[in-house]
Amino acid sequence: MKRYSFLELAKNAFSAHQNWGRQWRAPEPKAEYDVVIVGAGGHGLATAYYLAKEHGIRNVGVIEKGWLGGGNTGRNTTIVRSNYLWEESAALYNHAIGLWQNLSQDLNYNVMYSARGVLMLAHTVHDVQSAQRHIHANRLAGVQNEWLTPEQAKEYCPPLNISRNIRYPVMGGALQRVGGTARHDAVAWGYARGADALGVDIIQNCAVTGIRRTPDGAVEGVETAKGFIKAKKIGVVTAGHTSVVMSMAGLRLPLESFPLQALVSEPVKPAFPCVVMSNTIHAYISQSDKGELVIGAGTDQFVSYSQAGGIHITNHTIDAICELFPHFRRMRMLRNWGGIVDTTPDRSPILSKTSVPGLYVNCGWGTGGFKATPGSGHLFAHTIAKDEPHPINAPFTIDRFKTGRLIDEAAAAAVAH
């Protein structure tokens, strides 16, 4: 792997940046892998990277139906935070925050993690109580989160409208300073390049069409568009399509897939210093380094794989944005799109072994999986390599729906659901 550095940048400037070379190979699949990861999104690529780096398992194939990072990894609103309510969640998302801090250095790839702060607004007495409860729970769990009065919130985010005469006036907000944004594509590319350099094969444009099992029930390999690939272990990381892929092994999961929308405005000069979200009136906004306002809308109410949501869902979010930030009222929206998110009944992910020996699943991140990408991959790699979960993801089993030990996260996304 060619290490990227200032010297390398200067050297390549002389050839007009035409000779950087490929960042990863485009190999043909081998006949057999120790581990096959289905899905080359951020979580899948991170899993492969940590399998190779931390567990010495380098005979790994990542099989992807489309192109890497082309699903929800490239469709989300790039927010990073860890201010979840329950201890299990706090540990899970804080594990990711820890990895985000040095991810660019670790991958030798600029993922543009920017800890610009995530401000979650409260508009009602109930919101204030709920936010305070989160802050106290977070403090006990070692997660940074603090309360701001409306005036302090305005100071932190000057475009915010804190006047008392709007429909849902701002009564304060919870600020997590280590929260922020990261460049989603760079995360996928950085992990892909790192994993590839360690010997992982990333096989794109190769749909998995079946999971073959031995007579005793264990996994034998995957049927793909490029033929059968033998595998000792299979990790499924296919987000919205998890139910589809897992049904190939005869498993049914507590998941439903919904379209979740996002949109960006035309690019403008830096005008918005942080991330602001509001559960109650459903606004969710930040500004990318390119200058676009990045806005997250809600999910549709019905199961769909259409990657396109209803326009009334977007309108609802825009209404809220226009009231909270009146000076954006004349902004033009450039693009909007949908991604398919797999949600669990308790809005917490599943990072778990399954009843099929050798088959593992990492799913259910719902409306907020991007923030967890490094932690998710790190823990899932551990689960696959050791055939048992890491203590942090041990509570996130499929079995919790039977035992009743749900991890009920209303804060799973800044969107109401």
Binding site: S243, V303, S304, K402
Partner: protein
Amino acid sequence: MLLIYCPYCQVKRAETEFHCGGEAHIARPSDPSKTTDEDWVDFLYTRSNIKGVYAERWRHIHGCGRFFNAVRDTVSDDFLKFYKAGEPMPDLNALAAEAGK
């Protein structure tokens, strides 16, 4: 935004008049005390989450307020059939074939 037909009101209305009630034809266990944990998981949480033709419940919440069922293709979001609650699930494969799905 979907256009949905209410089989009670016999009108097509915008999706915002309706609330989706999730997968249809999931029967509550008839003898709860004899139902195993696995069966409770199936009833409460497990969903087929089908990519393709699928039956789901809708409620005309800003109209007659009644529940009914619909068959929809979850890839194109096209509705293939609407029918009243209590009617048996139609043959999804036949409906899909008829619609060319």
